[in-house]
């Protein structure tokens, strides 16, 4: 536990932690306020009216609760992946892993402790940023003149902990994958680059091999929550949430095993 506590303290003191969470919150604000401010400029009739309706749905509660969760999963996944890769890569680049190993610390425990702290920090940040996102959706809805009667929908609010737990699982898996990639590359820059390349590579591959790619880590993670419609980022070939949850958990464990195995076997040079 002292390793996780220590890693958490490091994350709190790391400027990039706050920048990452702040960027996700700012993007959510931008998306919802942007929609709220512009949706009513779209025509109410004609082909573009369909888009207007879809955007209004994004701002309409109780559906907006899940909408914010999926936006958070998508943005948080990419940023979380890059941030985790930077954290893992810096352990190699700055020589801090080397120093810990030289003090007799278990290599795998040290690295898994770092992932654990990242996942915990991501959970805390997720709750705060989700709150910001809901606030942004409320503001956006107000700007667009959308009714807020669904805001107090008891059934949706009751299901929120479960939804957020699923989002957290998705984020944890993407963080673990980013961490594993940087552990293999042993570099901050290469880890971030390779992680982002994998992320977008998987998205592009969806176009040609949807039935295979839906089982891959980022697609599975993004399918752990129910998506109301395609405008919220849903894919027709995505796994159903229950199945996606199982596949995501498997990828999470696999990524952690890769981190532990690669670190244990590595010869730590400079």
């Amino acid at each position: 536990m002292r390793l996780v506590r220590s890693s958490l303290r490091k994350l709190v003191r790391r400027p990039a932690s706050w920048v990452t969470a702040g960027l996700i919150a700012a993007l959510l604000l931008l998306v919802y306020l942007g929609i709220g401010a512009t949706v009513n400029t779209l025509p109410t009739t004609g082909p573009r009216a369909v888009g207007r309706v879809a955007l209004l749905n994004i701002l309409t509660f109780p559906g907006a609760y899940d909408g914010v969760a999926t936006q958070l999963l998508d943005l948080g996944g990419l940023f979380g992946l890059a941030f985790a890769a930077a954290v893992a890569g810096s352990e190699w680049g700055w020589g801090t892993l080397k120093a810990a190993v030289a003090r007799g610390e278990s290599r795998s425990r040290y690295m898994l402790g770092s992932v654990g702290a990242l996942v915990l920090a991501a959970g805390l940040a997720m709750v705060v940023v989700y709150g910001v996102g809901i606030g942004a959706a409320v503001l956006g809805a107000s700007l667009a003149g959308v009714s807020l009667t669904g805001l107090s929908d008891a059934a949706t609010i009751g299901g929120l902990p479960g939804t957020l737990l699923h989002v957290w699982l998705g984020l944890a898996e993407e963080i673990a994958v980013g961490f594993a990639v940087a552990t293999l590359t042993r570099s901050q820059l290469a880890g971030v680059g390779a992680g982002i390349a994998l992320f977008f590579g998987e998205q592009f591959a969806t176009l040609i091999l949807p039935d295979v790619v839906k089982y891959l880590p980022f697609n599975a993670a993004s399918a752990v929550v129910e998506r109301a419609n395609l405008a919220a980022g849903g894919s027709p070939a995505a796994l159903p949430p229950d199945q996606a949850t199982l596949v995501t958990a498997i990828w999470l464990v696999a990524a952690l095993a890769l981190v532990a195995g690669a670190t244990e076997r590595a010869e730590i040079g400079s």
Partner: protein, 317 residues
């Protein structure tokens, strides 16, 4: 005398490059051991092997009297190390970095972090981010980190890097005090005077092998030299007069920038005898300096030329 660290037949290659080629070392308990060698001799590779960062291809290691392999990480709880450059998080302060290090490996006593910050002279800057530290300050912090668990065996790789003269003197005193308290300190360096002043025992490595090991006094005696400055015209006569008494091979003529010098490889205690022989031959020296030429011995043993910048200072003591 017990052995704190023993290495036998240690081999390590990085691809086709052989870093260690059957290295043997024995570090007596309670001594400061100077691990001396030119750049690329295998000093850092040895250090990495000793703390389990890399695996040996062959050979055995004994740490604090018991066999050690790279899986025996708990054995390192009693070892403190500073390998290569100090490793810290630049966004954390010096104190926070030591606390982060203390969360790994062996448990660290309460108050130890602040005591060490005081010891290395960083107490006033302990709250500043390490990213803003000078190289010397990082080095001091690295030494503090190596001492966190109050280890019985301390491995320091080029610890004087970046330290100012005051810092070097302070480090020397601190390491001597640790050895006096029964701890063992292995210091790798390529700077001869530093090791000469600090170490009890010296091991010289070259091309991955130990080429000489012994107490500093023994090595200094083996490399003892009396240097005599004479006029150029008198140099041949002086050499002829000294050769029968000290041996022709022991008397060498060298032309330095400041004149002609004769180097007589003999103990400093025979300086008066040298002077007497010269006077009897009618040669009068303008300077006479007893000392030792550890640098020459080092260069001879390691097969290094004088191009190594680290050897260019203070070879004659």
């Amino acid at each position: 005398m017990t052995t704190a660290l023993a290495v036998h037949g240690l081999r390590k290659a990085y691809g086709s490059r052989i870093a260690l080629d059957g290295l043997d070392l024995e570090v007596p308990t309670g001594t400061v051991y100077g691990f001396l060698g030119p750049n690329g001799a295998g000093k850092t590779t040895t250090m990495r092997l000793l703390v389990g960062l890399i695996r040996p291809d062959a050979g055995t290691l004994e740490v604090l009297g018991r066999p050690y392999t790279w899986h025996d990480r708990h054995r390192l709880f009693d070892v403190g190390a500073l390998i290569e450059t100090p490793s810290f998080y630049p966004f954390l302060s010096g104190r926070e970095n030591l606390r982060a290090a203390a969360a790994t490996g062996a448990p660290v006593a309460r108050g130890r972090v602040d005591a060490l910050l005081t010891m290395v002279g960083l107490r006033e800057r302990a709250g500043d981010k390490v990213g803003g530290y000078s190289l010397g300050m990082k080095q001091r912090l690295g030494i503090a980190a190596a001492l966190l668990s109050d280890p019985s065996l301390l491995l320091l790789d080029e610890p004087a890097n970046g330290l100012d003269p005051g810092g070097i003197a302070g480090m020397r005193d601190a390491l001597r005090a640790l050895a006096a308290a029964g701890k063992t300190v292995l210091v790798s360096s390529h700077i001869l005077p530093e090791v000469q002043q600090l170490a009890d025992v010296v091991g010289i490595v070259a091309k991955g092998r130990l080429v000489r090991e012994g107490r500093v006094e023994e090595l200094l005696e083996a490399s003892a030299v009396v240097r005599v400055k004479v006029s150029q015209e008198a140099s041949a006569g002086a050499q002829a007069a000294l050769a029968p008494r000290f041996g022709a091979e022991a008397v060498k003529l060298s032309m330095a920038g400041d004149g002609t010098w004769l180097e007589i490889h003999t103990a400093g205690s025979r300086s008066a005898e040298v002077n007497q022989v010269l006077a009897q031959a009618g040669v009068y020296a303008s300077r006479l300096e007893p000392g030792s030429d550890l640098e020459s011995l080092f260069l001879e043993l390691t097969g290094e030329g004088s191009a190594d910048g680290g050897l260019g200072i203070g070879g004659v003591a």
